[in-house]
């Protein structure tokens, strides 16, 4: 979507004299979304052409009458001017749609709003009455337990910021550079502050038998999604989550209860969690054998590759945006690692020949989205923008060439290579492989 050009078209269509209401309608259609185009869309000139009455020295129309009242609506919504900032399905219609993607190009900071958090589900979103939801703990435990949501809300609570990334995020880039926006290409990543209880605390209530080593987690959706969780992860930092960014989980995020395994591939953080069965071996479910395994060039597949690798992407500017002029702007993006904290992000303006350190916005948290920023003065020269992240375990985000060399082009999952955005001399930004 070329927001800037859309704005220009709307400008030429707008009639000179118009009533205030008419002008507001025009403005809504013309500006579309400020955030949607990020740094490429701030066009004061365009606004002046459509609504001169609202710019200095005139008194804006919205100061001349009272605004809307309270509870309008009771659960607040974004401004109508932001209606373009939404999750979206892939452009190509699919018989069985699999996911919606987060509009990374339109967001700030490191928290994804709940209504924009990416969705992936395999049997639809169930409508669960929390009063009738139960978590069953059984298998190699001392005391099989049934926990209601009221029970779980009585456990000691913790709140932590973590990213969730679909293991298949960016998978098309193994093959060829996608033609979509950063949302289309990398939009299966989001971050939130999660509230819930430590899985270790809940397991202690049931008591583990000595041979316990794996836990099967099962969802209460129509897919009855199941994954095997190593006990070490369950006892380390795994959470049973009911809250997301300060409110109850949204239905599509697992309402009323989900597992959260910080840094692990998103599929393992089972939503609508209804059952934990402790065992002494992985359960070899469909989702950890025929899916979510990484086929290598020699025909064998890596299994149980749980941790999401260190990764970053520049979100502004990014593909399908058009820079609206020379001069200063900030390059900004997100970095994350399933192994721990981001310690460094570097930005290149010349396709990886030279690198400079970006600023990390704190607090930088383990297994969480980290916003990075880099000052840039664009002089109109063609540029290839890249970002490269490093985590506190010393992992360095690989180039695409290095990743393809080691993993081939058919592994589908765990694509974490450096992204290259080409800025043409006319300001158009596109996805390229270098």
């Amino acid at each position: 979507m070329d927001i800037v050009r859309q704005q220009a078209d709307a400008d030429t269509d707008s009639p000179a004299p118009a009533s205030p209401r008419r002008r507001r309608f025009i403005a809504r259609g013309a500006v579309a979304s400020l955030a949607a185009a990020g740094s490429a869309s701030v066009v004061p000139g365009a606004a002046q052409a459509t609504t001169p009455d609202n710019l200095p020295p005139n008194i804006p129309q919205w100061m001349r009458e009272p605004g809307a009242g309270f509870l309008n609506p009771a659960y607040g919504l974004p401004s109508p001017f932001e209606k373009a900032v939404v999750r979206k399905l892939p452009d190509q219609p699919a018989a069985f749609p699999t996911a919606t993607r987060t509009p990374l190009q339109s967001l700030f900071g490191s928290t994804t709003p709940n209504g924009l958090f990416f969705e992936r589900h395999h049997g639809g979103v169930p409508a669960i009455d929390p009063a009738q939801h139960r978590l069953m703990l059984h298998g190699l435990v001392e005391r099989p337990l049934l926990l209601s949501m009221k029970d779980l809300l009585r456990f000691p609570a913790v709140s932590r910021s973590h990213f969730l990334e679909c293991s298949g995020n960016s998978m098309a880039e193994f093959k060829a550079p996608g033609k979509g926006s950063v949302q289309d290409i990398h939009g299966l990543i989001s971050g939130a502050e999660w509230t819930g209880v430590r899985l270790a605390d809940v397991l202690a209530e049931a008591g583990l038998q000595p041979s316990a080593s794996w836990i099967l987690a099962e969802g209460a959706d129509a897919a009855a999604m199941t994954r095997s969780i190593p006990l070490a992860k369950a006892l380390d930092d795994a959470l049973l989550v009911y809250g997301q960014n300060g409110e109850m989980l949204r239905p599509e995020q697992g309402y009323p209860l989900r597992l959260l395994l910080p840094g692990f591939e998103g599929n393992m953080s089972i939503k609508w969690l209804r059952r934990l069965k402790v065992g002494d071996a992985p359960f070899q479910t469909r989702e950890e054998t025929s899916k979510y395994t990484d086929l290598m060039p020699d025909g064998t597949a890596r299994q149980f590759t749980f941790t999401m690798g260190v990764k970053s992407v520049i979100t502004a500017p990014s593909a399908r945006q058009v820079l609206d002029g020379h001069g200063f702007r900030e390059i900004s993006g997100l970095a994350w690692s399933g192994h721990g904290r981001i310690t460094r992000v570097e930005v290149s303006l010349d396709g990886g020949r030279h690198w400079q350190a970006a600023l990390l916005d704190g607090p930088v948290q383990s297994r969480a989205l980290t916003r990075f920023r880099f000052p840039w003065v664009w002089s109109g020269q063609e540029a290839i923008l890249q970002s490269r992240a490093v985590d506190d375990a010393g992992n360095v985000q690989p180039t695409r060439a290095a990743l393809v060399k080691s993993d081939g082009q058919n592994s589908i999952y765990h694509y974490n290579a450096i992204q290259s955005w080409k800025v043409a001399s006319n300001g158009e930004v596109s996805n390229v492989h270098v």
Binding site: M136, R143, L146, P156, A223, R275, A281, P282
Partner: protein, 186 residues
Amino acid sequence: MYTYEAGIRTVKALAVAGACALALNACTPAASTVPAQRLGLGQAASAAQIRGWDIDVRADGAGLPAGRGSVAQGQAIYQARCLACHGEKGEKGTAPRLAGGQGTLASKAPVLTVGSYWPYATTLYDYIHRAMPLDSPQSLTPDEVYAVTAYTLHLNGIVGADAVLDAAALAAIRMPNRDGFRPVLE
């Protein structure tokens, strides 16, 4: 100094010590020597409750129910309940391909199917029962799931046209790509 963690430990110790929790003054130092384990939340899950939800089937066949089904029975069920999405012989549908592809995994265009890729036949039973058909999961009887499992394996040349599968027969099947996976556990 009081800390929240110390408070939790005390609660757990008192819960283990039982009546002690109601009469703090009567507590003896013995309470602190009891392993701090429980907050006392939740209810015991009964065997009947567990039986209704304990639907998983492990790689070794643990969890497979009684019942049996033939390739022929499976073909009829497949045509009624599966073919619309998975296509003729599991090869030409809109849903993931079920059959074919053996020998393609190291090629430039690998075809991942039950026959070419899945390491365990038991997983087929587990998945069909829990998630298929897409419009009414957990609706097939054990006999029907064994039958559809048998037919899917037959489409891949893994069992013969006259095969009948039950728990023991299914668990005994060795899939062509059984050794194709390398656990990483990173």
